[in-house]
């Protein structure tokens, strides 16, 4: 049974490697969490003692509360606009399948992959014309451009895995195009739309470059506030704020993952017996 024993050793080594890789990937982000409970006035590791005073400071900070509110006020319209735009694009490119739809799909994803600093410069020079550089509008427009591809990707995936004969079936059963969409197509991609919306909000909530360029002190977002604080003092309030952002981001990503998984199961249901 030498071969089976060898296989077992390989399995253990694989486990050790996997653990080490995860430490490397995850630790640097989460190192901020213990720092936020430090009793020290400085961001130093390891903390000399423990306290929750920085969370109290965060809670009492007008600047952070305002930034949190701004982030929400920007994130929600971004999610809504991206969902509408991304879903319509996905429907046009995946279901309509126009000539060159592959290339167009790549183009629809490009805004997410191209450097955001260049988008920021470009948007700034356009918005400056209309005097919108420091309003909510500017940053919402910018975030929507980058977040729309996220919705496009999740909705496209839902559409591709949904049986295209669903709509044909609905039509033979008496549903016109609009009813077929509303009663059949939309419910099958609903979870993809939801996932995309969460991603879009989460992106807007975390984004910083566009926020730096397109908000002013009256519309500062949470990450921008973090960034500004960092330049003046390195107090553990930053660590507390970061921890809050991490927790919120993880919650949103978990929600998106769960919605995504449910969508997958749903899509599979109609074709269970195909294999």
């Amino acid at each position: 049974m030498g071969w089976l024993a060898a296989m077992r050793v390989v399995g253990v080594l694989r486990g050790v490697f996997t653990g080490a890789a995860f430490l490397y990937l995850i630790l640097p982000t989460f190192v901020i969490v213990p720092l936020s409970f430090s009793s020290s006035l400085y961001l130093s590791f390891p903390p000399p003692g423990w306290s929750t005073r920085w969370y109290v400071a965060l809670w009492n900070s007008q600047l952070y509360s305002a930034a949190f509110l701004h982030s929400i006020l920007i994130g929600l319209p971004v999610a809504l606009l991206s969902v509408v735009l991304g879903t319509m694009l996905a429907l046009a490119l995946v279901r309509g399948r126009p000539w060159g739809s592959r290339g167009l799909s790549a183009l629809a994803i490009a805004p997410f992959l191209l450097p955001q600093i260049i988008l920021a410069i470009g948007l700034y020079s356009i918005l400056a014309k209309f005097g919108l550089t420091a309003s909510y509008t500017g940053v919402i427009v910018g975030h929507t451009i980058v977040a729309t591809p996220l919705v496009f990707i999740t909705v496209s995936a839902s559409l591709r895995s949904a049986d295209p004969t669903f709509e044909m079936a609905a039509m033979t059963l008496g549903a016109n195009g609009w009813k077929a969409f509303w009663f059949v197509t939309f419910p099958t991609i609903r979870l993809g739309v939801l996932t995309g919306g969460i991603f879009a909000f989460s992106f807007s909530f975390d984004e910083i470059i566009l926020a730096l360029f397109l908000t002013n002190t009256r519309t500062t977002t949470l990450p921008k506030q973090l960034y500004s604080e960092l330049r003046y003092n390195m107090s553990p309030t930053i660590a507390a704020a970061s921890t809050v952002i991490i927790v919120l981001s993880l919650l949103m990503l978990t929600a998106a993952a769960m919605a995504g998984r449910r969508a997958q199961r749903r899509a599979g249901a109609g074709r269970d017996m195909t294999a």
């Binding site: 049986d163 004969t165 044909m168 079936a169 033979t172 059963l173 008496g174 016109n176 609903r190 109609g270």
Partner: protein, 370 residues
């Protein structure tokens, strides 16, 4: 399914369907040559053929997904061309059922009634009635993913039939099921159609399925209808070589020379030098000879009367399968003949044995090449 004789309420009258020169071209490609067919009211009509033969195009044109390039489709005299699918009022069963995964069985079946704005109470009664017919009364609140393949198939049938359409289209509805279930569902669908009284147009690539279920079959090839007829007639009197070889097994022989036989009929010589006798006069066009494996008898050594076709050879393969014995006999270096018999009929032979292969001249079909 053993459907109760009085189930289903007032059976719809099956629609009469007339295809009048229906054709479909995509640019220069002719997906469907001008086709004229008549399907009688209440008929179970199957369309079979290899993939790309145009059978799916014909169904798509009927359902309204594909606008025909020319021709008319008359259902009870009304031309369907130009009418959108959702106003054609026909039922369709798809290959993978296309049950809506987010709706329960009852909601799926109720969908066409909801689209037709049928009152809730009335719709509930109709759903209940059709669920009884397909024997799924207890499953109304399940989701499709919670059903077996056969149950999903029944829900799809019920959904397509609940609004009593006079025409049902079925696109390979059983191809996703395994063999045993498929045979059971064949019987269920046949019984279901008898209860409903609807006309059925049924597309399949499985000839046995078509034979088991249909009144008549249209065999398609290369965008054209090759032959239409009852299952038995198609097998016994194929119009051309494609039909002969597509249905069942066929021993086909090329013809090198032929001449009228002294006592009537025809004497044929094959390129391999075999001599065959047929009772019929040869058709005008070029033809091949077709002999069905079950028409052939094997005798040991030199048996068989002079009035028969008689070839000699050696058995090259013997297969026993479910009570049927298949022999393969090599009668010339490049020619093997398939013979088949069921039950105790005829002696069984071993590989390598010398045998005579005989059949009656009347069982020698002369089939046009094209």
């Amino acid at each position: 399914m053993s459907v109760p004789e009085n189930a289903g309420g007032p059976a719809a009258n099956g629609a009469q369907v007339v295809y009048d020169g229906v054709a479909k071209r995509y640019g220069a490609v002719q997906a469907l040559a001008p086709t004229s067919l008549e399907v009688a009211s209440g008929e179970f009509f199957s369309i079979i053929g290899p993939s790309g033969s145009g059978k799916t195009t014909l169904l798509g044109v009927t359902a309204g997904f594909i606008p025909p390039s020319e021709g008319r489709i008359l259902v009870d005299g009304r031309d369907l061309v130009g009418i959108p699918p959702f106003q054609r009022n026909l039922g369709m069963v798809f290959q993978h059922y296309s049950l809506f995964p987010h709706m329960t069985v009852a909601q799926n079946i109720g969908f066409p009634l909801r689209m037709r704005k049928v009152a809730k109470a009335e719709a509930g009664a109709q759903i209940k009635r059709i669920l009884d017919v397909v024997r799924l009364s207890g499953m109304a609140d399940r989701y499709p993913a919670q059903l077996s393949g056969g149950q999903q198939q029944r829900v799809a049938l019920a959904r397509a039939a609940v609004y009593n359409p006079s025409l049902l289209l079925m696109d390979e509805p059983l191809s996703a099921l395994d063999k045993n279930l498929r045979e059971e569902m064949q019987r269920e669908i046949k019984a279901f159609q008898q209860v409903l009284g609807a006309t059925v147009i049924y597309v399949t690539h499985d000839q046995h399925e078509a034979s088991a279920m249909s009144h008549r079959i249209a065999i398609m090839n290369g965008g054209q209808v090759a032959q239409v007829g009852r299952p038995r007639d198609l097998y016994d009197n194929p119009r051309n070589r494609f039909v002969a070889s597509f249905l069942g097994e066929a021993n086909l022989f090329e013809v090198a020379r032929h001449a009228p036989a002294p006592g009537g009929g025809t004497v044929i010589e094959t390129p391999q030098g075999l001599t065959l006798r047929a009772a019929d006069a040869p058709p005008d066009s070029r033809f091949v000879v077709c002999v069905r494996p079950e028409k052939i008898a094997l005798k040991s050594g030199d048996g068989g009367g002079a009035e028969c076709n008689r070839l000699t050879g050696t058995v090259s393969d013997v297969v026993h399968s479910s009570g049927t014995v298949h022999h393969r006999v090599r009668v010339a270096p490049e020619v093997e003949i398939n013979q088949r018999s069921t039950g105790g009929a005829g002696r069984q032979f071993e590989v390598g044995e010398a045998v005579s292969v005989t059949w009656a001249p009347g069982d020698t079909q002369l089939v046009a090449v094209d």
